[in-house]
Amino acid sequence: MAQRPDFSLPYSMVTPRSVYLNRRRWLASLLAAPAAAAAAQRLDNVRKTGYGKSEALTPYEAVTTYNNFYEFGASKEDPARNARNFRTRPWTVRVDGEALKPRTFDLDEVLKLAPLEERIYRFRCVEGWSMVIPWIGFPLAEILKQVEPKSTARFVAFETFFDQRQMPQSAWSGIPFPYVEGLRMDEAMHPLAILSVGLYGEVLPNQNGAPLRLVVPWKYGFKSIKSIVRIRLVKNQPPTTWNLANPREYGFYSNVNPDVDHPRWSQKKERRIGEFFKRDTLLFNGYGNEVAALYAGMDLRRDY
């Protein structure tokens, strides 16, 4: 009687395809960086939302290796390489200014402020490329409400962590640090504006602005400030880093707008990462239905 050769296995023992693929990704991340592998923790209890369900996601690989984070170097591959050992714990965020109850939040408190949601957003960089990213976070308004803004609070100013020793490459970036950004109060309170703590179901990788970053999907990417340590409610329009570096090219508002060119390139089209042909850029990055009312009566050419 023919014996079954001993290399034959029942089909039930085949490794499921998803496990096999995950294992490969896991192995790759181990080879790439022990620290990065350790940081890739899953986030639990994330509520799925309807945002952006129809969009094809930009691969995880691209989202986490093609970054602008000038504290860690000005090339796209720099942050993934140089932010590996960036210390994101312990971490606190000071929220103060024109507020009745200013306070400092520990990151663990921030994570419990509101239910975490997945928001799939288009992300359009001022340089002319775009991605679709499944962020995890909660509305920025949630943390602002905690400190009870006064009626005098008309703008919100944000500041990124800065430490020359952890970010030696920042010396060559050519822009001033710490990186600062700002929103008008009504923009900040808009439900589309979120504080993100993760992407693709995982804790935010360092190069993407861990542990806590802003995501404002209708504005150019540089408005979505990373690794936030301070949020201030203020009376007057706060300074913003790229505007300080080059006021002619980068305005305070920086809403995605195909009709207002960057002085050095057209903003009519964009290259979605992973696609060959460029696609048309949409006003407010396609979020006009939700946010256009914020700018009613404004001249978007002047307030670029």
Binding site: T65, Y66, W129, W172, N246, K268, R271, I273
Partner: protein, 207 residues
């Protein structure tokens, strides 16, 4: 002893060396190994190889004279033509892969955006040099006129560096490096320029 630069294998070897970056880019594109934004990568690499080969071309004269290495002249045309080759690839990447032959948009770019104007100027300066690179054209133009025309290479180098400098967002280290390199290559020529000028004035070199 014959220097290795005089050997018959030297030119084919240099040819392959100059072609290597293009082959490497083509292989990378084929394997999908040019990173997340391959078109940006191709644009950057072809632009940088143009500047590098322009620098190599401009290094020939000072090296021949200062290092007393006259055989190097055998390589100058090939280096210059490769600079033009990479400039053409760079331009093609922009016209085809970046703008998809949107001539209206390209025209606006050239007129409205100084960094693209500078790039277009650099390419325009290289075009007649590539066209008249043959022996026949040297003969037709006459040595002196041919040489005068080929001084356009300095314009190409300067406009090329300006193009790169105006394109970067804030970290100017790389364009600054090329600017320094070209400034050095120009400075090394000044003594010869001065000598030639005296000779052209009909006088003899100072005793």
């Amino acid at each position: 002893m014959r220097p290795w630069t005089a050997s018959r294998a030297a030119r084919p070897a240099l040819f392959l060396l100059c072609l290597a970056p293009a082959l490497w880019l083509a292989a990378g594109a084929w394997r999908g190994a040019l990173g997340v934004n391959p078109i940006e990568k191709i644009t950057l690499e072809t632009g940088q190889w143009t500047l590098r080969l322009l620098a190599a071309t401009l290094a020939i004269t000072p090296l021949r004279k200062l290092a007393r290495w006259p055989e190097l002249i055998r390589f100058r045309r090939m280096l210059g033509l490769f600079a033009f080759f990479y400039a053409s690839l760079h331009l093609m990447t922009y016209v085809w892969l970046d703008q998809f032959f949107d001539w209206k948009e390209i025209g606006r770019d050239v007129l409205k955006r100084p960094f693209i104007t500078a790039g277009a100027l650099a390419f325009a300066a290289m075009l007649p040099l590539a066209a008249t690179s043959t022996r026949g054209w040297i003969a037709r133009l006459g040595g002196r006129r041919w040489q005068r025309l080929h001084r356009l290479v300095y314009l190409a180098a300067a406009a090329g560096v300006v193009h790169f400098w105006w394109k970067v967002k804030s970290d100017v280290r790389e364009p600054a490096l090329y600017a320094l390199l070209f400034a050095l290559l120009l400075a090394l020529r000044l003594p010869f320029f001065a000598r030639n000028a005296r000779a052209a004035a009909g006088g003899q070199a100072a005793p």
